[in-house]
Symmetry: C2
Subunit: 457 residues, 2 copies
């Protein structure tokens, strides 16, 4: 399988196919820039998404273009890289071909010598996909725009309310999942209500908004460790966010949410907006790959990899990013970037120097940060733990440092400076669907889910 | 009907209702800021749209938030103004009530003492609404995002093409209507193809793109006068845009467009993307108002007004903006702003000094400008005509001057500086619909139109 480094022109270069243009895929493609290989990045969207800031797009701070850049644009100077827009449905492991569907619905097959799978994970509703009908997740650009429409739409709906209970319901936001995304969304929605929308409504004060953060676990931001988790909980409570830990969701509908509390009692919260960031699950492709290669999947369906990030018995298939299951590494951008880098380097070395047992992947934890609200964040970098303003400055530094690789720092800094210093979020514009009976402009029911709902009831 | 200026607290202030939050409505509301009146702005969207730059949102230069700002936000410090989100369906002229539908579908009635109607106009397909199925117009934020998806999507589709004719079709854009919007779109699409997407596709050179600009008239930008029209035609031709003047559209379908040329011969152009900016028509509300008040409508359905911009026999109803028909005033932002200002001032004066015959409305033409491509624009300010770089600098100055009223100048200037100086448009991100049989991700068929299409065929 190895190819000589000094590749003569008439020999077809080794073909590397990368499934997914997220952090892992992008870093793998970049690492392979100077390797004598032909790289194809397949993704079902044309853009690379800066997912850690999706919540800022959802709450009107950043525009779509500020968190989603065309993959082709990022990789335009990588002459050995081509981008293909397609949804990968299967991999023919024996014939070494990736099988997918073009946006036209036309099938496509892409042969590979090396395959890097970084297709990511999707929102999990723990077997209750019907919750998605009323409680959007936070994984894609579409999700962010749906949440933007619902969050700002909820205040509009509150202004149309004719009785106090209806208004209170529209001013209640229930967020399921107290991980970084849930905590960040809670902080942002609170800020929208108390700061951004100040003086904008005549019939009520948006300040009356209630933000509920519900989670089955013991504390918010549990992966940050007990000390920062406690500080985050304190910061959220101090802002007025209602934390309901140890709460298991038992039902979600268009008017609220039902949970079983820590003491086992059932409780209902009326809420006009329910957002879901509680869990993730691997896409169907992971199951296909497991069946075809005999690889194991973990509880969330992620693929278990060897220390060199390949599937057992298949040194030509690496799995990196959120879809990779290795030890207890978290599903964060940093792990994906380092995994992509490792997979790209491993292939480069093989091509240039021939095969050989590579050093196992080692994750260098550069720290994690979660932004709670203006000037408040929690940050954990090695032994250093910070919260409040120091944490926020750390957050700012980390995000500017990473953003710089593909957006200009100045632009982001200016945007944030504007959002923090003035009573405005610049990206509040939403598009609205037409009214159909039984729904409003801000809450159109997706056709597929509506149909499913109809057959159920 | 007049109310004393020193209004005691227990007297209900005069109620002014403004239908539409465009340039006319916004300027009317602002003018009434210090008048002893209660103002309600009713709009079916929550934002004021800076329509002259819609084409920049459609082609990836500006984000939605940069051209659409929440009306409530713009007017938050106007304590006598409230914004109501509703679609106005009728006006009960006798009872002086505006009748509409809330986003929930719930009916709403708003009483008025004075009514300012500035509901604008919509895209006209000259009796062929089915064209909208394949040829989106350019009036709303939704339109801009649809066009953004189609323009950038066309290049993606070209990259999936399996035969040269199919690729050529996807690389052909047919624009119907050579007014400012059509000319600006043509220039931008040409720039996207030759500049923005440079080096991004491996299978073809986006430079091979053909942009067709079709119009039934004799020259593009006719309202700018023959001299600038000729310069615009020369600039477009110099860039490689194919001008087809004197061409009447006879059919539009998903694969192209058919026209009758100036010599009467039929001709077909294969084009993957057809965009429509050819004509405007008044919304149904104008017809309702004409029936209820006996007002006349012009050919496009606009309401003919008296010299004081009111409807004959109804001094309490002003019609301003694009919906107003007065002499041969063009449907541009400048006329709308001055009309809104006039209507607001007229009411202020009546309330403060009692009724009296006001001076007739006089439009002060501050000039027009159309942006063709980087560093190229045509500009007409009184006796001054300019094109090329000088025209472009004038265009920049005019737009910065007007933008400043509600966005910060620096931000827009920076955005434009980036778009002009670097090979990038920052706002290329699009969302895509799911594949249904017979359509692709970039060209989902709107349900309502698909249903109509089905019943037709």
């Amino acid at each position: 399988m190895t190819v000589d480094p000094g590749l003569p022109d008439h020999i077809t270069p080794r073909r590397v196919v990368i499934i997914g243009g997220g952090f892992a895929g992008l870093f793998a493609a970049r690492t392979l820039r100077h390797a004598p290989v032909q790289v194809t990045v397949v993704d079902r969207t044309p853009h690379h998404l800066f997912q850690p800031l999706l919540y800022q797009c959802a709450t009107g701070i950043l525009s779509e273009g500020q968190i989603a850049v065309p993959l082709r644009h990022v990789l335009r100077r990588h002459e050995n890289v081509d981008c293909v827009l397609a949804e990968v449905t299967d991999v023919d492991v024996a014939a070494r071909r990736v099988i997918g569907l073009r946006p036209t619905g036309r099938p496509i097959e892409i042969p590979y010598d090396d395959l890097i799978v970084c297709a990511g994970v999707q929102q999990s509703y723990f077997g209750h996909d019907e919750y998605a009908l009323v409680a959007p997740g936070m994984k894609t650009l579409e999700d962010a725009l749906t949440i933007r429409r619902r969050v700002f739409g909820a205040f509009e709906m509150a202004s149309t309310a004719t009785d106090p209970a209806e208004r209170r319901r529209w001013l209640t936001f229930a967020l399921v999942g107290a991980g970084p995304t849930g905590v960040e969304l809670a902080g942002q929605i609170h800020e929208v209500a108390t700061f951004t929308l100040r003086n904008e409504y005549r019939q009520f004060d948006p300040d009356e908004t209630t933000v509920l953060l519900l989670d089955g676990g013991k504390e918010p931001l549990a992966p940050f460790g007990p000390k920062l988790a406690a500080r985050a909980a304190k910061a959220l409570a101090g802002m007025g966010v209602e934390l309901h830990m140890g709460s298991i969701v038992t039902a979600v509908d268009a008017r609220g949410i039902e949970v079983k509390g820590p003491d086992g009692t059932a409780r209902r919260f009326d809420a006009g907006t329910v957002l879901w960031t509680a869990g993730v699950t691997a896409p169907a492709l992971a199951g296909q790959l497991a069946r075809r290669t005999g690889a194991e999947q973990d509880r969330a369906g992620r693929l278990k990899v060897r220390p060199d990030l390949t599937l057992p018995g298949h040194p030509e298939i690496s799995v990196v990013g959120d879809l990779m299951s290795l030890g207890h590494l978290p599903g964060v951008a940093e792990v994906a970037m380092q995994g992509g880098l490792y997979a790209g380097r491993r292939i480069t070395r093989q091509v240039e120097r021939g095969a050989g047992e590579p050093r196992p992947f080692r994750y260098h934890d550069l720290g994690s940060a979660a932004y709670i609200s203006r000037g408040r964040a929690v940050l954990s970098v090695g032994p250093v733990h910070a919260s409040g303003l120091v944490g926020w400055l750390g957050w700012l530094f980390i995000h500017l440092a990473f953003l710089t690789s593909f957006r200009n720092r100045l632009g982001a800094l200016l945007t944030w400076a504007t959002a923090f210093s003035r009573e405005t979020r610049r990206e509040r514009a939403v598009t609205m669907a037409r009214v159909k009976p039984g729904e409003d402009l801000y809450h159109p029911v997706p056709e597929s889910l509506a149909a499913r709902e109809r057959t159920r009831s």
